[in-house]
């Protein structure tokens, strides 16, 4: 190999990574993804901390995904300590997670990905040339944050979600406000689907990876992983994903016991359980359709959130104290869907309720194998193209996976 050059920093993604393009003479012959974010060593930070501290610390893994990290950690802790939460707490958490889904997808589609389709540099370019589209996305994003704030007390690192329940139950006035805002955003979401599904593809079609998603609960929740052929129980999921340390990345890589890498995230969720109404948008299910999958999921999230708000309003939003958790020895594993795909939190506690083992597996680390294969395929598909074209396409391709590198490395 005569020379290589890195895409210095991947931009318009969360966290720090790069793509290395390997050249042989004038030709780009290979591409490698490096997730070079500095590890904060979360699994080590959590050891020695009491059970009630775990969700508060673990949610700091990532800001965009902080609500789902919080809920996932809470579920694992509560399972370990045999705490049963109320129906109301369950509904509130589910609603908060849908809020996170809405915020994350709107951020990605309208602030991070859209500039690729429109040929502008990012939010600054959007504000200058496509202000209405940026504002359309920001209105949806704001609603996602409003949901997270109403339930979690804050859009990022939601402190009001605690072991056994919530700090303060949001009142029916606040819930009614959410109901109105959700109804108000429906037209924006419909317009987004029409707009995004009409954008011209900017990448060649690439092979589809086998899909994997969480199943067995309400949307985004569950107790197992499913693929088109297998069902894997939550407590076997870590072994099935089979994370290994590799030299080129700070994020552990899922090896799936030597099988071909799986895709997790919006496109995987939809291809495994496609609602009939949206099937016609996905005649092409290669990764370039992921942006479309995100706007469809925006619709699904808003619909689900409306249903949850109605259930909570009908139930009456009772003030309630969190269920008291008693320190005890135990283990718990939660699997759920973060905006970018399968998220696993698993903890073991000693008889004083102190954390003795922690394992966190995140969607972007799982997707590394799929991204690597897509990059190699892109290089072949673009053989003969100018270096700068390949470089730009490689970055857009990685962005289709909406990587969250703070999560991946943690």
């Amino acid at each position: 190999m005569s020379s290589y050059r890195k895409i210095d920093i991947l931009t318009r993604v969360e966290g720090h990574g790069s793509v290395e393009l390997i050249r042989d003479g004038g030709r780009v012959v290979d591409a490698c993804l490096h997730l070079s974010e500095s590890p904060r060593l979360f699994e080590a930070l959590l050891i020695g901390r009491r059970f009630d501290e775990i969700p508060d610390i673990a949610c700091r893994i990532c800001s965009i995904c902080s609500t789902v990290h919080k809920v996932s950690a809470l579920q694992a802790v509560e399972q370990a300590l045999a705490v049963s939460i109320s129906r109301q707490t369950g509904l509130l958490r589910e609603l908060a997670v849908q809020g996170g889904q809405i915020e994350s997808h709107a951020l990605h589609v309208f602030c991070l990905a859209l500039p690729d389709y429109l040929g502008v540099n990012g939010i600054q370019g959007l504000a200058a040339h496509e202000l209405e589209k940026l504002q359309l996305g920001l209105r949806i994003k704001k609603l996602g944050n409003l949901i997270q704030e109403t339930i979690g007390g804050r859009a990022i690192h939601p402190f009001n979600l605690i072991v056994g329940g919530v700090g303060e139950v949001p009142g029916s006035e606040k819930m009614q406000h959410l109901k109105d805002q959700l109804a108000g955003v429906r037209d924006d979401v419909t317009a987004s689907i029409a707009y995004v599904s009409g954008l011209n593809d900017i990448l060649p079609p690439l092979s589809m990876h086998p899909a994997c998603a969480v199943s067995g609960g309400p949307p985004l929740f569950g107790n197992c992983l499913v693929t088109s052929t297998e069902t894997i129980a939550a407590n076997s999921a870590a072994a099935w994903l089979d994370e290994q340390v590799e030299a080129s990345t700070h994020a552990k890589v899922s090896r799936f016991g030597g099988k071909a890498p799986f895709l997790v995230g919006p496109l995987a969720r939809l291809t495994l359980a496609m609602p009939a109404a949206y099937a016609h948008y996905f005649t092409d299910t290669s990764i370039r359709s992921a942006t479309k999958a995100r706007v469809i999921e925006l619709q699904l999230a808003v619909e689900r959130a409306q249903l949850l708000v109605d259930l909570l309003l009908n139930d009456g939003l009772e003030k309630e104290q969190p269920v008291v958790a008693i320190a005890a020895q135990g283990e718990g594993t939660s699997v759920m869907e973060a905006p970018r795909g399968v998220l696993l939190h698993s903890y073991r506690f000693d008889d004083r309720g102190v954390c003795r083992a922690a394992d966190i597996i995140t969607p972007t680390s799982i997707n590394q194998g799929a991204i690597a294969l897509s990059l190699k395929e892109l290089i072949v598909a673009m053989d003969g193209a100018e270096y700068e074209q390949i470089r730009a396409a490689a970055e857009i391709l990685v962005r289709c996976y909406d990587p969250c590198i703070s999560c991946a490395v943690h």
Binding site: A44, D56, S66, Q124, G167
Partner: protein
């Protein structure tokens, strides 16, 4: 009017401080009129530093060799350098086991493999460069961020907050979680400015904004002891966001 040139960079962190800025959905279009976010890899391409900046906002702590170089480069190019968020100001969550053997922590995650062996114990920005202003919090408050930007647009830096979370908590007439409910609330020792966000919903302050200047640690420890919290418990809780607490 000439737009102010601003750089926004993230080091070792969760991107929450940068996201807090992007979460100003109503203000963002106006912000993009007033400022040129020239270097802002999370939201703009390419990641290319060029020329001088009126201000640079830096999220995160330092834990990798190249981060120090990046920070020094940003410092050289900028009139003001603002530490954005608790990681940048105090070290933050990533630093909560500072003082322990880093290699052992690394190995507990990566095993014998040498992956990430060049990383080091997280440091706040002021240990490496001069910091002109700080907006603390995990995450920072949106209003504080907007005040910072509004100030920068007028050429001034924000006035540093010097009162604890308790001050705002009392103004909101909240029940005191420490004295009335015997909860380990860090409000007395933690920098205010958040309108006592957590205690107002009955959730004890976890100290996410770092220490208030001239915190009366001795007196607080006495109250915590009366409520049944030993020194080690209080220390661990305080160090969740700031390893520099000495007790």
């Amino acid at each position: 009017m000439k737009k102010l040139r601003v750089a926004i960079a993230g080091l070792t962190a969760c991107s929450g401080c940068q996201l807090s800025l992007l979460n100003c959905e109503d203000e963002l279009p106006r912000m993009l009129e007033l400022f040129e976010f020239h270097y802002f890899p999370m939201a703009s391409s390419p990641a290319l530093m060029e020329g001088e900046y009126d201000a640079v906002l830096v999220e995160g702590c330092l834990s990798m060799p190249h981060e120090k170089e990046l920070l020094q480069e940003l410092r050289r190019r900028s009139r003001y350098l603002v530490a954005l968020g608790t990681c940048a100001v105090c070290g933050g969550v990533a630093a909560l086991r500072n003082g322990e053997e880093r290699e052992q922590l690394r190995q507990s995650v990566y095993g014998e493999n040498q992956v990430a062996s060049e990383t080091y114990e997280p440091l706040p920005l002021h240990r490496v460069v001069q910091v002109d202003a700080a907006v603390t919090g995990c995450p920072p408050e949106k209003e504080e961020l907007l005040r910072l930007l509004a100030g920068l647009a007028r050429g001034v830096l924000p006035v540093a907050i010097d009162y604890p979370v308790c001050t705002e908590c009392r103004m909101r007439e909240n029940l005191c979680l420490l004295t009335e409910r015997s909860a380990l609330c860090l409000g007395p020792l933690t920098l205010g400015g958040c309108s006592a966000r957590c205690p107002s919903l009955g959730v004890p302050c976890e100290g996410c904004r770092g220490p208030v200047p001239e915190a009366n640690l001795a007196e607080a420890l006495e109250i915590y002891a009366e409520k049944g919290f030993d020194k080690a418990t209080v220390r661990d809780r305080l160090r969740r966001f700031c390893p520099e607490w000495k007790l």
